[in-house]
């Protein structure tokens, strides 16, 4: 090791004549000289030459139109994504937070409301459907600017260089966010880590570059749209390096190409959106993961994770099952029959998953969480509650509900749904259902509810 280093040192010294070490131009000067000569001799053959790109469609108008669609779409994706994270109430307890190192990135968090009760359902439906639908727009946008990737010289100035670095974050971030999101909704967990970590921090890496890109390009895009769809001369400033100097004869009009992208977006919408609407529309979601009902009857609605898939054993939820309610220094243990003997309340609420699918309202019946709190003597000012499942470990085997969620009269420990006893897959003997909460916070197979303890 040491001998090797010495050798390299030696050869490095011998390669430099000792007589003229100070006369050699510096690295920067040599780089600039090399760049100048490269620029002077013109781009090498291949994609770096503007005439390599033959499509007559490429131009500032097409790029600007696609850019404006993405500006609106990505903004909505980012906002719904931030809301989705807030819906978990991550600051309330470590078990609610999949990204506990977030630091200042959680600056905007707020208590997630229970009204309107469909807020999370609509938010996730919009986030996922929009993300899927924007795929062809993103691809078309990347296609429309491909000559710029090979622009010659690769770096014109320091400013151009760092802007290209920013574009790596923009394009890499966009691809990363779309890929992790689309794979996660299909339960295809091949990405290198927890989905929540990758998708949340990836979004923040992306959004800075996105804002920079919008600020730098918005004036040019506005000019291009005002200029109209007439193609500017190749090589001019208005052409922005996008217009081919040697266009091939057109085989489709620019509006036709936009129409094709729109048709692709519509096709994706048509085979996806039904899983976020439910009812009759679910069957239209031909390629979406939750495009059909798992069964019929009162319990025949969508399941996130079946009892078998999370290791629930018959003994865990058999006659020996008990619910423990703790709080205010007291502890009450109840059987299922004792719960059924309490006053049964009803609430019509949906199940909505982070993956974008949801069910229409289901009619749940069971015991109000406020009535459970009353069992341990908590009347007014009921605090937050830790809800634990009989599940052994796993990311969402327990959740902490905020006080506003516990106090909502629609929040139930449900024992029945749509007039029938809960099925095993829907959380028999008892599950939580809270208006507006993410699906995984409606804990199934509940065995313990603890009010007010620090978590």
């Amino acid at each position: 090791m040491e001998a090797g280093d010495g050798e390299r040192e030696q050869s490095g010294r011998t390669s430099r004549p000792p007589s003229e070490p100070l006369k050699r131009p510096g690295f920067l000067t040599r780089l600039v000289a090399a760049m100048d000569s490269a620029v002077a001799s013109g781009p090498p053959r291949g994609p770096a030459r503007p005439e390599f790109w033959r499509s007559p469609l490429r131009g500032p108008w097409l790029t600007a139109v696609l850019g404006f669609v993405l500006l609106a779409g990505v903004t909505l994706l980012f906002v719904t994504g931030l809301l989705s994270y807030a819906a978990y109430n991550p600051n309330l307890a470590p078990v609610n937070d999949q990204t506990p190192d977030k630091g200042w990135l959680g600056f905007y968090l707020f208590s997630w409301p229970t009204s309107p009760y469909w807020l999370y359902r609509v938010n996730q439906g919009v986030h996922v459907v929009l993300g899927v639908v924007l795929v062809p727009v993103l691809l078309a946008k990347l296609w429309s600017v491909i000559p710029k990737l090979f622009a010659w010289p690769p770096v014109r100035s320091a400013g151009h260089g760092i802007e290209r670095l920013s574009l790596l974050l923009l394009v890499g971030g966009a691809g990363f966010e779309f890929a992790t999101g689309i794979l996660n909704v299909q339960l295809h967990y091949i990405f290198p880590g927890s989905f929540y970590v990758l998708h949340f921090y990836g979004a923040w890496v992306f959004i800075g570059a996105f804002v920079v890109h919008v600020v730098f390009r918005l004036p040019r895009a506005l000019r291009a749209v005002r200029y109209g769809s007439a193609q500017p001369e190749a090589g001019t400033e208005e052409a922005a390096g996008l217009v081919s100097p040697r266009p091939a004869p057109p085989t489709i009009s620019r509006r036709g190409a936009l129409g094709m992208v729109g048709l692709g977006a519509f096709a994706l919408f048509a085979v996806t959106a039904g899983q976020s609407v439910g009812g009759w529309w679910r069957r239209t979601a031909l390629l979406a993961p939750h495009g059909r009902e798992p069964g019929s009857g009162p319990n025949g609605f969508q399941i996130n994770k079946t009892a078998a898939s999370v290791g629930i054993r018959p003994g865990d939820i058999g006659p020996a099952w008990r619910l423990t309610v703790r709080g205010a220094g007291r502890r009450v243990v109840l059987t299922r029959d004792q719960l059924l003997a309490m006053r049964q309340r009803e609430a019509a609420l949906p199940i909505a998953c982070v993956e974008g699918w949801s069910t229409p309202d289901q009619l749940w019946s069971g015991v109000r969480l406020t009535d459970l709190a009353a069992l341990v003597g908590l009347g007014a000012d009921i605090p937050h509650a830790l809800v634990e499942s009989v599940q052994r470990g796993g990311a969402f085997s327990s959740a902490v509900l905020r006080d506003n969620q516990v106090r909502d009269h629609r929040s139930l420990l449900a024992l029945r749904v749509n007039g029938a006893v809960l099925s095993y897959d829907h959380g028999y003997p008892a599950r939580v259902i809270v208006p507006g909460a993410p699906g995984v916070h409606n804990t199934k197979w509940v065995t313990r509810v603890t009010f007010g303890e620090p978590v």
Binding site: G159, P192, Y201, L263, N304, S309
Partner: protein, 173 residues
Amino acid sequence: MSKTTGFRRRYGASPLHLLLVLASFALAAYAGVRLLDGDTLGVALWFVGAALLHDLVLLPLYAVTDRAAQRLFGRREGGVGQAPPRPGVNHVRVPLFVSGLLLLVWWPLVLRQVGHYTAATGLPADRFLGHWLLITAALFVASAAILLARRWHESGPRRRAARGRRRARGATK
């Protein structure tokens, strides 16, 4: 020469440009260390790979496919007149694009790559490939129907003229 233009000459853009990009890099670094905390190499590869996937893999792939389709079906390429071009190649290009797009998004389910799908959701995993193939078939059938209707419509004047000639011949007999 003012200080600002001197900066612009050396840097290639305005100072605001530099400040904005540096601010975005600071945010990216703040989130990036958290993103890379864990499988650093894996995440970095995915991130850079996502940037290159379209430009260096998908684009050459579909550009070559499109070129091949134009060779095969682009008979009426470079038609005359100011009318928007409508070569036959688009009747292959559009359904192929839509079908490929559906596969690009939903390939894990279509190609049955998600082993635990049925165990987790209680839903059958074998329906997606059939759905995708049927949608693809429907797209090509619809495209063919539009092509036939267009041909029929375009040949209208010729057919009417031929009918007129036949009728004229009949009248003289």
